[in-house]
């Protein structure tokens, strides 16, 4: 059976550290922290655990529609989205994830942009 990136990099033990660090870095970001200041940390951690696990082929998956529903109302700008992607990228690099995987995950994040911040679906506009 083909193993997922999630398993290859060391499973939850490793992903846990990446999520924790990623969360820290976002709160350090002037541009992004306002989105996370008043959020319940349990929910935040829950979402990030699921999302990062999903991204790496862990035991969960998100549909594009789900991502849209969770983010559309926040009014995230493309610049902010790019910043988030960059922070994610740096976090992965600093956790010694193989560069080719980092690139792939970053590209995946960028590809999701239209679903995450793309505004309301076309037909309801």
């Amino acid at each position: 059976m083909k193993t997922s990136l999630f398993e290859r990099i060391g499973g939850f033990a490793k992903v846990r550290l990446i999520i924790s660090d990623f969360y820290d870095r976002i709160l350090d970001s002037e541009m992004l922290r306002s989105y996370f200041e008043n959020i319940d940390i349990r929910r935040m951690i829950d979402h990030q655990t699921k999302f990062v696990s999903a991204l790496m082929g862990g035991p969960v998956s998100y549909s594009n529609e789900q991502l849209g529903r969770a983010h559309h109302h926040l009014g995230i700008t493309p610049d902010e989205y790019a910043e988030m992607g960059e922070i994610f990228r740096e976090t992965l690099e600093d956790h010694d994830i193989p560069l080719v995987e980092v690139d792939r995950l970053h590209a995946h994040i960028l590809a999701l942009q239209e679903h995450v911040i793309g505004g309301a679906p076309a037909e309801t506009k």
Partner: protein, 372 residues
């Protein structure tokens, strides 16, 4: 990754050195400035009025002084139960609790301990606080992740059951258990069973002359109903090949009445088709052969395995099925002898069966009515 954590730690430790470390007037002696560089919050309070007499920089950062400048410990610390704290301290014991505070953009979780402390100049209330946010984060993450894996396990379990159901369609449960436990199965001889072979007269012509898709759907429908009849009498469907249907009674669990049960199955199948033919698009006419005797049951194949039965009993049932006219049910005499009290039978005399020579054949007409 540890570098990051260290950075954060180092930066945090030096940042607010100028804010706290304040000696408020009171009984406590001056405390060394090293307390201000701690990552732990430390405060001392007067055990009589619980007013803070000393707080280090970390304490000030986590529990900032309010506008009103309240001095009581409980006024500064959210989530502290003053009654319980006093009660414990009076008993000379400690009071531990967790609380959350906001520091900049972060909500951090603190673990606090309040206990009495005997200093050189008298008893004081000592508070220590540690940042356990990372630990909490890990706990939340673990919660989240274990929920994910638990759900995944449930789905895998369902998937497994689906697979099991599929396998049980093609082999008896006992054989499936053996395959699961040991990875292989051994052929078993079943000394006393009955075998049913059925196929449809003119099926090939039916398929060609009509919409084949619809015909297969009907065949599926018919076989599904057969499966129910077979199950109802505790018999087993062995397999279907094209329009042929094969069932067995008396295995894998022995059944002393296997011949009677399988004869009933055969009659029910025929009756089901007669009823169906009144309304259905196709006329289904079956030929059935029945035989009693020993068979060998075994899994055949490795990747694409099927459970199958072998032996002369199977062959003779098959020959009788071929011999039968549409709508007829034929059986061997040894089977007929076992069921003659319960069924209406008609001997047809000797017939030549390929591979068996001259064989006495009996036709199964109906079930015997009560009182006859």
């Amino acid at each position: 990754m540890t570098t990051r954590t260290k950075e954060t730690g180092a930066r945090a430790a030096t940042a607010p050195a100028d804010k706290g470390g304040e000696k408020v007037q009171g009984k406590t002696p001056p405390l060394p400035p090293v307390l201000d560089s701690l990552n732990t919050a430390v405060a001392l309070a007067d055990p009589d009025n619980w007013e803070i007499e000393f707080e280090n920089a970390r304490f000030t950062e986590w529990f900032p002084r309010g506008e009103e400048g309240a001095r009581e410990l409980s006024a500064r610390i959210p989530g502290m139960d003053p009654g319980r704290a006093m009660d414990r301290v009076e008993k000379g014991r400690s009071y531990r609790f967790e609380t959350e505070v906001r520091v900049g953009p972060r909500t951090i979780t603190l673990q606090l301990e309040i206990r009495p402390f005997q200093g050189e100049s008298g008893k004081v209330v000592l508070l220590e606080g540690q940042n356990i946010s990372k630990q909490k984060e890990a706990e939340y993450m673990l919660d989240s992740y274990s929920r994910l894996t638990e759900r995944q396990n449930r789905e895998l379990e369902k998937e497994k059951e689906r697979g099991e159901r599929l396998l049980l369609n093609i082999m008896p449960r006992a054989v499936y258990e053996e395959l699961k436990d040991s990875g292989t199965t051994t052929p078993h001889t079943f000394e006393d069973v009955s075998v049913l072979m059925l196929d449809f007269a003119g099926f090939t012509d039916m398929a060609i002359s009509r919409d084949p898709g619809a015909l297969i759907a009907e065949l599926n429908d018919v076989f599904t109903s057969f499966d129910r009849i077979v199950e109802h009498f505790n018999c087993e469907r062995i397999k279907t090949i094209g329009d042929a249907y094969m069932a067995v009674a008396g295995m894998p669990e022995a059944d002393p009445e296997h011949a009677i049960h399988l004869a009933k199955v055969a009659l029910r199948m025929r009756r089901f088709l007669e009823k169906r033919n009144h309304t259905g698009a196709h006329q289904w006419r079956c030929r059935i052969g029945l035989a009693t005797g020993p068979v060998i049951g075994s899994i055949v194949g490795i990747q694409k395995f099927v459970y199958d039965i072998f032996g002369p009993t199977v062959n003779i049932a098959s020959r009788l099925e071929t011999l039968a006219e549409p709508g007829q049910i034929l059986m061997t005499t040894n089977m007929a002898e076992r069921i003659q009290d319960d069924f209406v039978l008609r001997p047809l005399g000797e017939n030549h069966l390929k591979g068996f020579g001259a064989v006495d054949v009996v036709s199964l007409e109906d079930e015997a009515r009560e009182g006859r």
